[in-house]
Symmetry: C2
Subunit: 519 residues, 2 copies
């Protein structure tokens, strides 16, 4: 039996256990995982709270050393990951290798960020003892770690948004201890990475409470974690209902804490009138690739496409169905996701005015948690009449919506919920004649794209993977890219402190040579 | 009868009205204010939502023009403000003049900030079409306005945190429309400033919905405002119960929105063992000034002071009581605050082990909403035994707590709630031998001070007026200083857009010549 990692120790065996499943055949995998007990959650939180003080004093270099070592460590276990993760998730080997690279790449990106050091937004107002009518005191401010962070593994990113994924990497980079709740669908993958984290912490002489890994099925363990007084922030990627439940719990605490939940997005695509007939084929190819990438299990999967009605629209529809027919079925991450996908399609097809253009044969879908692509169509007026069509269907399905004029699109966007992305396709003059469409999109989306598809999120300084609710529970944040570190930091101002005592970032001589705002 | 300002129009007369009171004699002031109706709230929100699109396109210069003009306008009505505000609030004329200056000064500070333009955190990742294995797209991100903001006037800052105060100024600077809920205790002051805002908006050709001012007594109008779908963020300064109620409402919405409520802080002061006997007198003078400034009605009022026990502590106590005896009674802002002050003292004195060292004569306190200073004392062990002593008493009272060793202080801080400020007094070697006290303070406070008192908040780049709950509902924010603008902005990423279409902040040639993060 495998148990949770509590600091540098392992938790107890437990009467309550669960197993993971191989979604390719829905057979259980023969390892028992012990559910973390209430005591284990408390122990992990207490260790984290103590570690927070030590970690708050870590220099950027000390943090970078750990993040780089962990990146190397994770790259070093890629063969083990391939073996365990393909079985637990149905994801193919190349994806496991690519996601391993993204995970170690993210850790190295945050290492570079904290080594460079300017992320702390250092601000310095020097004293003016002779100012009239009152002297100005010396004030210096910078971002400091928020405290222990609870991170929930994402079902669709078993590495890049799980144990040592983007949430954990950005929290460690900020100087925060991390307690991870493993996803019940890939505990073995979590354990492999978790063991690597512990080994790296020891190697880098980090305190024990900088990391714990909790196993659990259902919501009990996660709820104990989020309601623990020691926890100061939450990172989550998953379903709308799951994220909202955590958000509600965190806000009902006596001391509410921020929840950065990335949840739900249909990532609308708008084909503007300027798109040329000869571009239809490459557009359809690109859209089919984006919509079925990873069996459609990406947060930025383009679920709804608005296209001009009439002959042009019919050609798009025909072309797209043709491309989607070429895509086979794939194994989804777990039975729950697969069931929800089929229910989502069923719900959409039962909406008034929705027509099935293509659906992958049901019989093949019966094998394990397999699912295939689906193309549905409707008109913008039917779409506006039934808000159910706006709901995310997580999987490789696309709803094509025919519109007559831009005013209809503006109406659509005005009633649309928050989105991670919104994509616009057309020619440059379309942007000039869009009657404010892109301005409206900016209000609801975190990232807007021109002639590009939303999947394949670039991990960099400028990316925003966020957006108004329900894309996330905090539209002022991003969970991908260097900006993600800002979620786990808060500004602290030091007034009148002697030079010697000040953090290096704020010292008079600027020993770290970072960019600062000074006056 | 005076009614609400809805865009450029005035609201309807109403059957439901209220009056303000002169706290100097608790007599009502003979102007009726009409409660804003549900329809008026909706109209204001709809106007704001429409204005948001236009305002989102405003350049920094356009916003600065308005903020500067409004600053001039407010300076220009200072005589009217003196007359109305002294009557409504009991605040003396010099304070009204000073707060007018702070208010116009804040507006000008935000004007300079948006003119300079770098606050948008522009980030540029240029395309790398030849990158292997995949080309890198062009991504550019910057902060964009969050949308219409609801601002609640603060009872204790009728100008600097009311109609055109810090919350409104930072929201306008970010490009957000503002709907202000006037405080029931100073509606006349609100109306004077509100009329100036409308005149300035017209002069600067800003859209109608950029501002509305709602009158109301009780919580109905505020609740309608915060639950309106068009509102995207809330700024509030006031009581813990009021702020938490708004926070709960905002988070229970189908689309939750951020609430930046600044609420409650006892602003602990720690006298470390190194303070010299000869410094006691100046310390006591400073503390008495800070604790009774504005009749103790500042958020940063130092309410609890920890001092070494024994002879040294006795001398501090004696000296402080002597200073406080010289401070007379003052008129508090309104009867409600005055009643709560007396109840707060009563609650403290009924705690086991609390001794009254000095209390201003009750008889004088009976005139209007007058209140005088109060000094209480206890020991750190009694303090730790009763959490009621940690509660804020809003007014000119101080609780002196004698401690024996630093370990006790660490225990105190470990159980303390979030604070706006924490001040440490002593000599520099105290900081070296503090056994981690300041590190612990940093965890709970937004601003930590050395040998300085927390009142007299400097408005600048580096100040942090915020802190963990219940100091605020969002410890990652500040409501004073330039950083306040970040509350009302969210990052948006533009991927693959043509140069011509991009906002100036992100254009290739950097026409605004702002600092950017580029790669």
């Amino acid at each position: 039996m495998e148990s949770s990692i509590i600091g540098f120790s392992r938790g107890d065996a437990s009467a309550k256990t669960f197993k993971a499943f191989n979604p390719a055949n829905n057979a259980s995998i023969d390892v028992n995982y012990a559910m973390a007990s209430e005591d284990e959650v408390n122990d992990a939180c207490l260790l984290a709270s103590n570690a927070a003080f030590e970690m708050a004093q870590f220099s950027g270099n000390k943090k970078a050393e750990f993040l780089n070592a962990l990146a190397d460590g994770i790259d070093g276990i890629v063969e083990d990951l391939v073996s365990v993760m393909t079985t637990e998730t149905g994801l193919p080997e190349p994806r496991v290798r690519a996601e391993t690279g993204r995970t170690s790449g993210q850790l190295r990106m945050f290492a570079r960020l904290v080594e460079a050091g300017h992320w702390v937004d250092a601000r310095i107002d020097r004293a003016q003892p002779d100012r009239q009518p009152l002297p100005k005191p010396d004030l210096r401010a910078m971002l400091r770690p928020i405290g222990p962070v609870a991170v929930f593994c994402a079902s669709n990113f078993p590495l890049a948004f799980s144990v040592a994924g983007g949430d954990s990497a950005s929290a460690w980079a900020a100087g925060c201890p991390v307690i991870v709740k493993a996803h019940h669908a890939h505990p073995g993958t979590a354990l492999l990475v978790g063991n690597e984290v512990v080994a790296t912490l020891r190697k880098c002489s980090w305190p024990e409470g900088a990391f714990s890994l909790l196993f659990g099925e259902g919501r009990t363990v996660g709820q104990s974690l989020v309601t623990n007084k020691m926890i100061k922030a939450v990172g989550f990627t998953g379903s709308r209902s799951g994220g909202r439940a955590l958000f509600n719990l965190a806000n009902a605490r006596e001391e509410p804490i921020p929840v950065f939940a990335e949840m739900s997005s249909v990532n609308p695509v708008f084909i503007l009138p300027g798109m040329k007939l000869e571009d239809i084929d490459s557009f359809s190819t690109g859209l089919a690739g984006s919509a079925t990438l990873g069996v459609g299990q990406f947060c930025t999967n383009p679920g709804i496409v608005f296209h001009p009605a009439g002959e042009f629209g019919e050609q798009i529809k025909t072309s797209y169905v043709q491309k989607m027919k070429k895509v086979g079925a794939g194994v989804m991450l777990h039975r729950g996701i697969c069931d929800l996908y089929h229910k989502g399609i069923q719900k959409l097809t039962s909406c008034e005015g929705v027509k099935v253009e293509y659906r992958f044969s049901d019989s093949v879908e019966g094998e394990g948690s397999k699912a295939g692509p689906c193309v549905l169509s409707t008109s913008v007026n039917e779409f506006l009449a039934d808000s159910a069509m706006m709901d995310e269907v997580f999987g490789p399905s696309t709803l094509l919506v025919a519109y007559d004029d831009l005013a209809q699109l503006i109406r659509v966007v005005s009633t649309m919920e928050g989105q991670l992305t919104a994509s616009v396709f057309g020619v440059e003059t379309d942007l000039k004649n869009d009657q404010g469409l892109v301005d409206h999109l900016e209000i609801i989306a975190g990232r807007i794209l021109f002639n590009q598809f939303p999947t394949g999120v670039e991990v960099c300084e400028s990316v925003v993977h966020g957006g108004p609710y329900p894309a996330t529970t905090d539209g002022r944040s991003t969970s991908v890219g260097t900006g993600a570190i800002l979620r786990f930091a808060r500004p602290v101002c030091y007034q009148g402190f002697p030079e010697e005592w000040l953090p290096d970032e704020l010292k008079e001589g600027n020993p770290l040579e970072i960019e600062r705002c000074e006056s």
